[in-house]
Symmetry: C2
Subunit: 142 residues, 2 copies
């Protein structure tokens, strides 16, 4: 099948398939005499695998590792689990950061009239009125 059909079957856009090939996430596709890429059902499975992994937030680099483990029938499930744990950790860190931002914003919003008047605790806080600051220095850690 050509790239369009592989895209339709896998849910991964043609452009993205070419991109994955270009960065080495998937091996170069075979070609017809005229240069068209050709894919097998197995290739489509691989694309679906990648698509699901990406959907869980794994980076393309992680996907490459996961693919390698998937294709290595002698893998240790511990290695897979370790990648998953790393990913959970990254997600948790990100969530914590976002929650912290959200709390700060909600605090500020609560104290803001939100009407036609110009005085606004949100701006005051951003300007450094040194009231409370939940977040502060969360940026570099992100």
């Amino acid at each position: 099948m050509n790239i369009g059909e592989a895209a339709a079957r896998s849910g991964v856009p043609s452009k993205t398939i070419r991109y994955y090939e270009s960065v080495g996430l998937i091996p170069p596709a075979h070609r017809t005499a005229s240069g068209y890429r050709i894919y097998t059902e197995a290739d489509v499975q691989t694309l679906r695998f990648v698509s699901r992994a990406r959907g869980l937030g794994f980076s393309v680099a992680d996907c490459a590792n996961l693919l390698a483990l998937w294709q290595d029938t002698a893998r240790a499930s511990a290695d897979v689990k370790a990648l998953a744990r790393q990913q959970v950790d990254r997600i948790e860190a990100k969530v914590a950061e976002l929650q912290s931002m959200k709390e700060t914003l909600e605090d500020l919003m609560e104290r803001c009239h939100g009407d036609a008047r110009p005085d606004c605790p949100i701006l005051s806080d951003l300007a450094g009125s040194a009231s409370r600051c939940h977040v502060q220095e969360t940026r570099k850690t992100a």
Copy 2:
């Protein structure tokens, strides 16, 4: 003061200050005869403002809006609050997406031995063993 001192005082790296200027977030700095940028204490305040807003996850574009509101003494606090609310919404959406990924990953991890054996439900799931799928299609919405 020169850019280095402004950076030290504001906590915004020199590179970033130049970047903010280049994208129009802050106005072009005045220059010495030899071309060095010069900053006032007020400029440092502006940089701190931007830094705090960025720390709450506002985009650079949003920061420009916030700055404009800050400098407009006739603003309506409602306008500021609206931006904050938007930001909270964006954060909540992102958090929901991440939580969903996390749940899926944790479910899979729970079912994975995580030892030397090769069989691994995480890989099986990614390969499409069609067990449960919490996330699915969360990607485009992100």
